[in-house]
């Protein structure tokens, strides 16, 4: 019941304070920052990292890591795009892509849970082999030119809200409900807090570990659909280093690497900080030679503020 301790409340407000400070600073530096089109633009841009980060939050909550999300995204995008070009109905192609993502995630989970291989190693293996499979599948070439119906996933709007934002919103709400309102969510926190105790009270740890990795793979595939639709092209080289942005969003959001502490509210703020920062660097036309340094410094500063 101590999930809402003083410390965690401070952590949550800390990251919110960092976010507000960053937004204030950027709106003072650029009159273009705080405009409705730009806000919609940033929201659309963070959907891909945001969706991956939801899965990553689950993974880190059970004190594991998933390095393979970027490669899984690439492979599932390639397969989906290929199915679409072969003329499969759009919903079926999407379903196949999502199922493949879930399958690859489940493979990560089973190897980690059943064979006791550290997830760092398991998912590093998946990172390399899924990327290799994606390159092999297309002989290194992108698949470009997709049906309009599929592209609506990236460009469409519902009542002025971009489709990617809507999808990411649903993912966040569902993810939050599962974590906070269901038994599965409770178990995930329990496994992260103390796996031995969790096992003793009869939680099937292996099953939940596998499920969590499955969800991470599924969400990586979903993010891949949006990216592919937005680019009108699936690329075997897509998603390189996406795991790092997702991990950064989760950790910025206050989820602990040792598991059991944190949640999706923080992850959303973390993804927003990274998205706003990328947007701000472009709006201010910061030289590419300084860009990484500035980005790293701001993220470090945000982490420092919320550790206090």
């Amino acid at each position: 019941m101590n999930r809402y301790s003083l410390g965690s409340i401070l952590q949550r407000f800390g990251i919110a304070i960092s976010f507000v400070l960053l937004c204030v600073a950027l709106s003072l530096l650029s009159d273009r920052f705080l405009t409705l089109p730009n806000i919609v633009n940033v929201l659309r841009q963070i959907t891909i990292n945001g969706i991956i980060a939801v899965g990553m939050t689950y993974v880190i909550l059970i004190a594991e890591i998933d390095l393979s999300v970027g490669s899984v995204l690439a492979l599932t995008s390639i397969v989906t795009a290929d199915m679409l070009q072969k003329g499969l109905p759009i919903p079926l192609a999407i379903l196949i892509g999502l199922a493949l993502g879930a399958l690859l995630g489940a493979v990560n989970g089973v190897i980690t849970a059943k064979f006791r291989v550290p997830s760092f190693i398991t998912t590093l293996g998946m990172l390399t082999s899924a990327r290799g499979a994606a390159l092999l599948y297309t002989e290194g070439r992108p698949i470009t030119g997709l049906p309009d119906g599929f592209r609506a996933l990236g460009r469409g709007e519902v009542a002025g809200i971009p489709a990617p934002v809507l999808i990411a919103g649903v993912v966040f709400v569902l993810g939050w409900l599962i974590l906070k309102r269901t038994q599965a969510g409770e178990y995930i926190y329990a496994i992260g807090n103390n796996p031995t105790a969790a096992r003793l009270v009869g939680i099937s740890i292996d099953r939940y570990r596998t499920l969590v990795f499955l969800v991470a793979g599924l969400l990586a595939a979903l993010a891949g659909m949006i990216l592919t639709a937005r680019l009108n092209s699936a690329q075997p080289t897509a998603g390189v280093a996406f795991e790092l942005d997702a991990i950064a969003a989760v950790v910025l959001g206050g989820t602990s690497f040792s598991g059991g502490v944190g949640g999706l509210g923080g992850t959303l703020l973390g993804a927003l900080i990274i998205g706003v920062l990328d947007n701000g660097l472009n709006l201010l036309n910061i030289s590419s030679l300084y860009e990484q340094l500035v980005k790293g410094a701001v993220i470090a500063l945000a982490l420092l503020i919320h550790r206090k």
Binding site: R230, S233, Q235, D278, N282, L283, I286, S288
Partner: protein, 318 residues
């Protein structure tokens, strides 16, 4: 106490694997043609390509062959199928057959070094083509002139905009030679010959299509007027085109890319992309052979031979 033996056992297995790999590889990649030893006065060149499973290198080979025929020298071509091991044994064969000079297009800059050193020891001069090597003694390196390519793109954009307008530059991965050289050529030309063009934003999208999309989306937010975009490669320009189309601003912008990849050629045909800069592999092959022949005839050759690039537009595709 099984554990005590685990580490030694692992070491043993690794030692076995390593020694198996180090054993002389079977001569699988035999030269495509019988390589006759160079007889008095006759020149035989060995061309070791990374792959022939790519039209770029097929064109390179054809250019080299034509130049060899014209110069009356023999050319032996070997294809490594992108396998550094295969390339190493193929070059070994070429050295054994005593070719007069080696033209190498490495599969890998590091893996090729021992082969170049072996050629150095055998006294065979080495030239690298398209990709350079990380070590060994190389007489000259023949590769595309990216600075000239950047200037070419700038000239096209300057003319297309009538010498006036606001232009965005999407840069490649900071620190790579392609990004440096293409940017240098572009900006030099603009500042020297096209004073009416203002570069309103200069941001990196890391040679990546997805980043080309998001970075250009952000720049579209910051810049109410954009007349042209130059990207250091086609991937980024294709991402930028998607961003501009989604924002309904694609019609007011002239897009110029670099590399002439298939998707870019398609985009030119569809009228979305105005131009891209293509490398000329055939020209590269020709210059490689001519340089080697010059060197073997006792002439001095420069360390770097730049190969001209060509502008691809809807006009040239007709």
């Amino acid at each position: 106490m099984k554990r005590r033996f685990l580490f030694p056992a692992l070491l043993l297995v690794m030692a076995l694997i390593v020694s198996a790999c180090a054993a002389p590889p079977p001569p699988q990649a035999a030269p495509a043609e019988e390589a006759a030893p160079a007889e008095g006065g006759e020149i035989t060149l060995g061309l070791a390509l990374s792959t022939l499973n790519n039209p770029f290198f097929v064109d390179l080979r054809d250019g080299a062959q034509a130049a060899a025929d014209a110069a009356g020298v023999k050319l032996v071509v070997v294809d490594a199928q992108d396998d550094p091991g295969k390339q190493a044994s193929a070059i070994e064969d070429l050295i054994q057959s005593k070719v007069s000079a080696l033209l190498i297009n490495p599969t890998d800059a590091d893996a090729i070094v021992p082969s170049i050193e072996a050629a150095n020891e055998a006294g065979i001069p080495v030239f690298t083509v398209d990709r350079s090597a990380a070590g060994g003694e190389v007489v000259s390196h023949i590769a595309s002139d990216n600075v000239a390519g950047g200037r070419m793109a700038a000239e096209f954009l300057c003319n297309a905009l009538g010498g006036e307008g606001k232009v965005v530059e999407l840069e490649g991965i900071p620190g790579t030679s392609a990004a440096r050289d293409r940017g240098k050529g572009f900006n030099e030309y603009m500042s020297e010959n096209c004073p009416g063009i203002e570069i309103v934003a200069r941001q990196t999208a890391n040679f990546n299509r997805a980043e080309g999309l998001t970075v250009f989306e952000n720049i579209l937010q910051a810049q109410p007027e954009i007349d042209g975009v130059f990207a250091h490669n086609d991937e980024m320009i294709l991402g930028a085109i998607e961003a501009a189309e989604a924002a309904g601003r694609a019609d007011e912008i002239v897009f110029v890319g670099f590399d002439a990849i298939d998707d870019a050629i398609q985009a030119i045909k569809e009228g979305k992309l105005a131009a891209t800069v293509a490398q000329q592999p055939g020209e590269m092959g020709r210059l490689a052979v001519e340089t080697a022949v010059k060197y073997l005839n006792g002439e001095d050759v420069p360390e770097y031979i730049p190969v001209d690039l060509a502008l691809v537009t809807a006009e040239t595709l007709k």
